[in-house]
Symmetry: C2
């Protein structure tokens, strides 16, 4: 099973891939758009893209590509973002003079970093920091990266779970050419385009309320096409083939300026 993810190896994207697929054959992509393309051109069976992070919010690029490209959501993966400090095998905490990582990871581990007497340096990704230490045999440096990077680059983990905040999660979507068949515990994502006028959203949500369908996410974003108009990203419980959901979606299709069903997929317990 070929799975397209954001490269390099050893990042949280790889962790997500290994959580969802038992033995993924990884196809490394340079950016999120390349992941969409590799699924569309059938270079990969599935793609894994980050869609929201509890600290940083939605990934705008992913939301826009979901709107533009003809892919479906096949699944979701909720990953706890846990950072580890890692170094060459014989290096101890006291040897560390420099800590290397992506600026976000450095920011997320600020309290821990303050306890060490070390400077910080930025890298393009957390995995790249680990690779640099391994390849250049840096004896006085440590990387902040996901556990999986230590395995990959044969580094020793000096400390696990060094992030300041314990509720940092990233939600990844599994994208494919088709969405998931009904399982009984499903969720559906849609994009809705509405005119910018009072009551538009209220009227659009009526059907969900009548059919007692629970929304799990709603987010408005200004539409790129016409300034002042809005698109809404809405997730709700149920499969697009459920009777109640079908009814609501048919109604919305008449009512809204546009609607796109992104797909139905199995929910992940939070």
């Amino acid at each position: 099973m070929k799975i397209s993810i954001l490269g390099p190896r050893g990042t949280f994207s790889e962790e997500a891939a290994r959580k969802f697929f038992k033995t993924p054959e990884l196809l490394l992509s340079e950016d999120i758009e390349e992941i969409f393309e590799s699924v569309l051109k059938e270079k990969a069976d599935y793609g894994i893209v980050p869609v929201e992070n509890s600290l940083e919010g939605s990934v705008g690029v992913t939301l826009e590509l979901l709107q533009k490209k003809d892919v479906k959501i096949y699944g979701e993966i909720i990953l706890d973002i846990r950072h580890s400090l890692m170094a060459l095998p014989k290096v101890g905490l006291r040897d560390i003079k420099e800590i290397i990582s992506h600026p976000h990871a450095l920011a997320q581990c600020k309290n821990f970093i303050k306890t060490l007497k070390a400077s910080t340096r930025s890298s393009h990704s957390t995995a790249e920091a680990a690779r640099e230490i391994a390849q250049q045999k840096l004896k006085n440096a440590a990387a902040i990266a996901p556990k999986i990077a230590a395995q990959l680059y044969k580094l020793r983990i000096l400390k696990e779970d060094i992030q300041d905040e314990n509720r940092n999660q990233t939600r990844f979507l599994v994208i494919a050419k088709k969405d998931h068949e009904k399982t009984g515990r499903d969720k559906t994502s849609i994009i809705l385009g509405l005119k910018d006028r009072p009551g538009a959203l209220y009227e659009a949500l009526k059907g969900f309320a009548l059919e007692k369908i629970n929304l799990t996410k709603i987010e408005s974003r200004p539409s790129r096409k016409a300034l002042g108009d809005y698109v809404f990203y809405i997730d709700f419980e149920g499969h697009r083939e459920d009777d109640g959901v079908k009814k609501v979606l048919e109604k919305l299709r008449e009512q809204a300026a546009f609607m796109k069903i992104l797909g139905s997929y199995h929910t992940t317990a939070r």
Copy 2:
């Protein structure tokens, strides 16, 4: 007028401060929480915090601090994110072998970078990249940073507007101990806590529809307090002292699990 912003100097936060206040006296903070604290403890008159970016979505940390801390929104600033390539005064495009910037800026200028024969290196911030080039007199390197950083570090701008995407905007909020008086062109932000059940949001939006109040943003985020419950960040047109708005907010206060008025402020034309 003392304005607390994210340091270092020379970033988009400084650009935002100079757009809103004519002659801000800058107080540099290390992170977003410090900006909130400096306003609360009256070390600064106002603070400027990023709240959403068109490519990356909402800044979760800011949204959460708005919920937790007793500050008000006094204004908003919408800034076009424009990147420039800058180097030492006598350096030309052909001399550049290395481009230094924050990973986000490097990613946002990928197409432009491909046209140069240069490697890339990450820095903690865009401004720090500019400072490094100036202070270490790096002759074969250029920084990607906001224009304002070139002025600050006496660098020469080799090329302006090198970002791939032309609609990259960041919305900043001006926070203070009080919100803004009524101007006639106002906007109000609230946080609403609702139980996780079908129809809850629909019922909450009824008042806005009846009073013909236009929503300009809605975003749900899982509540930190109780898994499964939701908080909604809602922006709408009008001032909290307008009669219609008052009516809606009074109703919501009875209806919702909790409500916090973040403040009313003057809108910025988009």
